[in-house]
């Protein structure tokens, strides 16, 4: 009973705050609406009994949303909400995609003949998750990790206007780097 109530409260909160992201006209508010939506999803994951995944999602989403707030404010045209702005683009296309996805998933849930549970949950779910990631799914995770890392490096390379030649000279032989801000380790 309690878990049913919790499920509905969290599910509604996740959808409502997800929707609010597109209604508020301040990038800060949009970001933190998204965070609340994610935290509601965390509640749902915890409700399923996946303690580690739930808490880790909370940890990562808080960090990610704070960083996202910085980038949203930096790049969006109306960071402070001083002028009304629209968060929508490609309205019709996205409505078709979203509606179609929802219809397919909902039809799947209703039409699939759900099997009865065969196995039992592992005694320690966190341990089982770790074993899966470091065992059977190792290749998947390594591919994912390398892809993400390559993306980060490529993005930084594309975004930065200063490379090592700017820092250390054309022959890379300057004794101290020519940096706009000095760091703490005296490179």
């Amino acid at each position: 009973m309690l878990s049913a109530i919790l499920f509905w409260v969290l599910a509604v909160a996740a959808v409502v705050f997800g929707g609010l992201v597109f209604r508020v006209d301040s990038m800060a508010r949009a970001t933190f609406c998204l965070l609340i939506s994610f935290l509601a999803v965390v509640g749902l994951v915890l409700l399923v009994g996946l303690g580690y995944l739930g808490v880790v999602i909370a940890l990562m989403m808080v960090i990610e949303m704070v960083i996202m707030a910085v980038f949203m404010v930096m790049f969006m045209m109306n960071p402070a909400g001083l002028m009304p702005m629209s968060m929508f683009h490609n309205t019709r296309g996205s409505a078709v995609i979203a509606g179609g996805t929802f219809a397919v998933l909902a039809a799947g849930i209703l039409l699939v003949d759900w099997p009865a549970r065969g196995g039992a949950a592992a005694p320690d779910l966190t341990f089982a998750l770790g074993e899966a990631l470091m065992g059977g799914q190792m290749l998947t995770m390594m591919t994912l990790g390398i892809t993400l890392f390559a993306t980060i490096v490529a993005t930084v390379v594309l975004a930065t206007d200063r490379g090592r030649y700017d820092r250390l000279g054309d022959d890379l032989d300057a004794s101290t780097a020519d940096d706009p801000a000095g760091g703490g380790v005296g490179r």
Partner: protein, 319 residues
């Protein structure tokens, strides 16, 4: 026929009411100590009696003080940010073993603790943003950069302790230190933890987010009860994060002669005293310097420390 009472790993539920009071008491004592040390360093020593009253008087003054309003502030985000700070600190304290047992003995205790800590990022950024004031925004952004730089060494230090105990559960980590405190086999992680704790609670030499060069930074526009909640939340976070060093690295309640809870009190007092001393010994250092030290020095050191501990655990026939 009565069953023998099971040995519970967690404290009874009514401790949920005691815990915030205990933490506030600890904050009060640390404030008094900080005041005495600071006044002596400043050449104008205060008596212990006056120091004991000072935090209470300041709290009362803030409680009745007028709340500042700024032009076109985002009041919702501003107040929400301030309120998040103490809530996150008390949430983090839920897995802090007081003696041998925490209030909530979660199987993922250390991850929960870290998740609660990072809510401070969101809180400080929101407080800095909400006021619609340039200097307070600078403070908020400073804390995001500082949090980003110090979260990773912090996380590696915490995970190294969990690795040593082969468990994410706080009580398991304390039990694993029955014979040998983790500080002995992972000293680098311990030092990195203390440094990054100060950074995560924007404390001591890491207080640039609320420093005087930006007129109080994120807290610049706070007054009255808002300042009380923000400052109180920051002190709570500092005390909880410092107290967590005890179960993670200093053996928790383990020790000869004294009962477990008293050992926790003694060890926590020592850690807090060390951090208060650090704050009064080292001036606030510029953000760019600290940030690079974290990325270039602390990060590789903590990774190497985790590797060494992992090899030791494997060598002893761990998982």
């Amino acid at each position: 026929m009565t069953e023998p009472a099971p040995v519970l790993a967690a404290l009874p539920t009514w401790w949920a009411l005691v815990l915030p009071v205990l933490l506030l008491g600890a904050v009060w004592l640390v404030l008094v100590f900080d005041l005495v040390v600071g006044a002596r360093a400043g050449g104008r020593p205060v008596g212990v009696g006056a120091a004991l009253v000072a935090p209470l008087r300041e709290s009362a003054r803030l409680l009745v003080g007028q709340r500042r309003r700024t032009l076109a502030a985002d009041a919702l985000l501003w107040r929400a940010g301030g309120a998040t700070l103490p809530v996150a600190a008390i949430g983090a304290a839920a897995v802090l073993p007081l003696g041998m047992r925490p209030l909530a003995d979660l199987s993922v205790g250390v991850v929960w603790f870290n998740a609660m800590e990072v809510f401070a990022w969101a809180a400080v950024w929101l407080v800095g943003w909400g006021a619609n004031s340039a200097l307070s925004l600078v403070g908020g952004y400073r804390f995001v950069a500082q949090g980003l730089a110090y979260e990773l060494p912090h996380m590696f230090a915490i995970i190294t302790a969990a690795l040593g105990a082969q468990s994410l559960r706080m009580t398991d980590i304390v039990d694993a230190q029955q014979d040998l405190w983790f500080v002995a086999i992972m000293p680098v992680a311990f030092v990195a933890y203390l440094l990054s704790t100060a950074a995560m609670a924007f404390w001591g030499p890491f207080d640039a987010p609320v420093a005087r060069d930006v007129a109080g930074g994120a807290a610049a526009e706070l007054s009255g009860v808002d300042r009380l909640v923000f400052a109180g939340g920051r002190w709570l976070l500092f005390v909880v994060a410092a107290a967590m060093a005890v179960p993670l690295f200093l053996g928790g309640g383990h020790g000869p002669w004294l009962p477990g809870w008293l050992w926790v009190v003694v060890k926590t007092a020592v850690v807090l005293a060390a951090l208060v001393w650090l704050r009064h010994r080292i001036p606030t250092i510029r953000m760019d310097r600290w940030t690079e030290i974290s990325w270039i020095v602390l990060m590789p050191l903590t990774i190497a420390q985790a590797l060494v501990v992992a090899l030791v655990v494997l060598g002893q026939g761990g998982i």
